[in-house]
């Protein structure tokens, strides 16, 4: 797959209206290419979560453009009808707390996504197992989420984010609960996956341990983004 990643132009988001209006995003311009992992860094209240929610198609921006894999998904209004299908097929989510479904085992937590997209159970589980293997947690395939360590849960969550081969993955503080060794391992996995599956990955983080690993970083301050070259440290 050789998509074009994600491009955001002049994105704005205003919460509320009148006196109580908050301009959470004022001018966001970003581009993330397939195979690339970029950092999104900013102080508290700068608009990081708001941006993820807009990209994740769970809240509607106020103005601007978002282009996903050469398809305009937002241009001063949604351009795709089924946002649910867009989220399911084109966007992977990885959270700080790896929100796994507690009543499904590890395999089905991952396989659920292709199943929701209409894949037969066996095929969906096969895909899930491949990813678990790639992420080195296949020995936990039958475990229930609470039985996993934090790092294992995070890897399962990454597998879930990847399983439908979305052109973009949004990761919100994916390393926050991990020690530096494991945090770096997660970043290594994300880089590897980005390359292998041609996915554009945006990592929102405060985590000093991983910031030096990004080749490219977007800073966001008061709803405005600035691009900056990162250190891109090998690790």
């Amino acid at each position: 797959m050789t998509g074009a990643g994600i491009r955001i132009e002049g994105l704005r988001k205003r919460y509320g209206s009148g006196d109580t209006a908050v301009d959470a995003l004022k001018q966001v311009d970003m581009q993330v290419f397939p195979g690339e992992v970029v950092g999104l860094i900013g102080p508290s209240g700068s608009g990081k979560s708001t941006l993820l929610k807009c990209l994740g198609a769970v809240i509607e921006p106020t103005a601007g453009r978002m282009i996903l894999d050469d398809e305009v998904i937002y241009d001063d209004g949604w351009k795709v009808k089924d946002l649910r299908a867009l989220r399911r097929d084109s966007i992977g989510f990885i959270f700080q707390a790896p929100y796994l479904i507690s009543f499904l085992d590890v395999t089905d937590n991952i396989a659920l996504l292709p199943m929701l997209a209409g894949k037969p159970n066996a095929e969906a589980r096969g895909q899930a197992l491949d990813l678990l293997k790639a992420l080195d947690v296949e020995h936990r395939a039958k475990a229930m989420p609470p039985q996993l360590s934090g790092g294992e849960q995070q890897r399962v969550a990454i597998a879930r984010g990847l399983v439908n081969r979305p052109p973009v993955i949004l990761a919100d503080e994916p390393t926050a609960p991990l020690d530096s060794e494991r945090a770096l391992a997660v970043i290594r996995i994300l880089n590897e996956m980005a390359r292998r599956y041609e996915t554009a990955i945006i990592v929102v983080t405060h985590d000093e341990k991983i910031i030096p690993t990004f080749k490219r970083i977007y800073h966001i301050r008061d709803g405005v983004t600035y691009e900056e070259a990162g250190q891109g440290l090998e690790f």
């Binding site: 769970v58 989220r87 097929d89 929100y99 499904l104 996504l113």
Partner: protein
């Protein structure tokens, strides 16, 4: 696609089984209540059927003998016997009272039956043990529900009787077991005054110069004799000769005898429509209350379970699960809860409630089917609150602040 509801139930089966069992007890009570009503109706039919009568002749303008007191002279049957279309007649009395058995006493409906052979109207139609009454006095045939044993002595008013036979499922419309005794004894039990009253009556008659005339020997004795006989019964049971229409025979008795006559159809209406109508209403009210309580329990449990899954639901929505799927998840759980409850309830009603309940409980399969449908409907409706809560969950919550 896997069943999300199924997985969640397997995951927290303890909650489901315990709540389901609790709900099941309620459903069991509900089914038993319906069974009690059916049992009462059936008891009434059995009571009428076993009496062997086609027509009930009672005091004019009464709903007797079961629903209202009725008393007619005990020779009324002679006139009825001679009417066309009448095959057999028999006097009968009914009186619900306490019957002594050793130290305890049992509430029973005493029925006085005329002497005759089996098949006489009013006689118990079949016995499970012992024999029918053969002597004119002091023998009794009792229903097994009374707890009497063959050969046992039981006390009815001032006399004691030997239990010679046992019947089954012969109970009054309020569920009291029936005890059959000879008619004469029953008349005495029903109309006899106590010794003091008799003495008083005799004394009064003796001092009354109108009765105690020196010139008319024997008058006082005749008066006293007439005062102490009890020439009343509660009803005359009539068997209609084959080839005659019960309604026509009833009409002619009504016309000629100035009595009220009921066919078995009308009698059933009186029993079911009037005598047990109040109980039926009470049971109906209980059914409504139990349904509301069950609905509240299901709604509450499903709502709580759903609130416990809000995070999961947000994630499911974020990764593109349809609202329909999420609503289905919750509704299926509610229905599963109802099914567990129904199974537990059905078992409780059949194996626990019906055998130990001090009244005949008739669990009709059709009632179970209706109950099942009601449980499913109640569960589906009760899940609506939880479904609304789940559909309001914002997928953005999964991303957090």
């Amino acid at each position: 696609m896997i069943s999300l509801a199924g997985r969640d139930i397997m995951h927290s089966w303890g909650k489901f089984v315990f709540t389901g069992a609790g709900l099941g007890l309620l459903i069991g009570v509900t089914l038993s209540m319906a069974g009690i009503y059916r049992g009462m109706v059936d008891d009434a039919k059995v009571l009428l059927g076993n009496s062997g009568a086609d027509l009930w002749v009672v005091q004019k303008d009464t709903l007797g003998p079961y629903a209202e007191p009725s008393s007619i002279y005990d020779d009324t049957w002679r006139g009825i016997r001679g009417m066309p279309g009448v095959a057999r007649t028999a006097n009968v009395t009914y009186l619900t009272m306490q019957v002594r058995q050793g130290e305890r006493d049992v509430r029973a409906m005493i029925s006085g039956v005329t002497a005759g052979e089996p098949g006489t109207p009013g006689w118990p139609s079949y016995l499970v043990a012992g024999r029918q009454i053969t002597r004119g006095h002091y023998e009794a045939v009792a229903d097994v529900a009374a707890g009497f044993k063959l050969g046992e002595r039981i006390g009815i008013r001032r006399n004691s009787y030997t239990v010679v036979g046992l019947t089954r499922r012969m109970v009054s419309s309020s569920g009291d077991p029936m005890v059959f005794i000879p008619l004469k004894d029953a008349q005495e039990a029903q109309f006899l005054k106590d010794n003091d009253a008799i003495l008083q009556q005799r004394r009064r008659a003796a001092v009354n110069p109108a009765f105690n005339r020196p010139g008319v020997p024997g008058l006082l004795d005749a008066v006293i004799a007439s005062q102490s006989t009890n020439p009343y019964v509660n009803a005359v049971l009539v068997q209609v000769a084959s080839g005659h229409d019960a309604e026509e025979v009833a009409a002619s008795i009504r016309r000629w005898k100035r009595l009220t006559v009921y066919t078995s159809g009308q009698m059933e209406e009186i029993l079911v429509g009037k005598l047990i109508a109040t109980s039926a209403k009470q049971i109906g009210m209980f059914l409504v209350i139990l349904s509301i309580v069950s609905a509240a329990i299901v709604a509450f449990i499903i709502y709580t379970l759903t609130l416990g899954k809000i995070r999961e639901i947000a994630v499911l929505k974020l990764i593109g699960t349809r609202n329909r799927t999420i609503a289905g998840l919750i509704m299926q759980q509610a229905v599963a809860l109802g099914m567990i409850g129904f199974v537990v309830g059905k078992i409780t009603a059949t194996l626990v409630m019906a055998p130990i309940f001090p009244k005949y409980v008739l669990l009709e399969p059709l009632d179970s089917v209706k109950g099942f449908v009601a449980v499913v409907v109640i569960c589906v409706i009760s899940s609506i609150i939880a479904i609304r809560a789940a559909l309001k969950v914002d997928p953005a919550e999964a991303i957090g602040g």
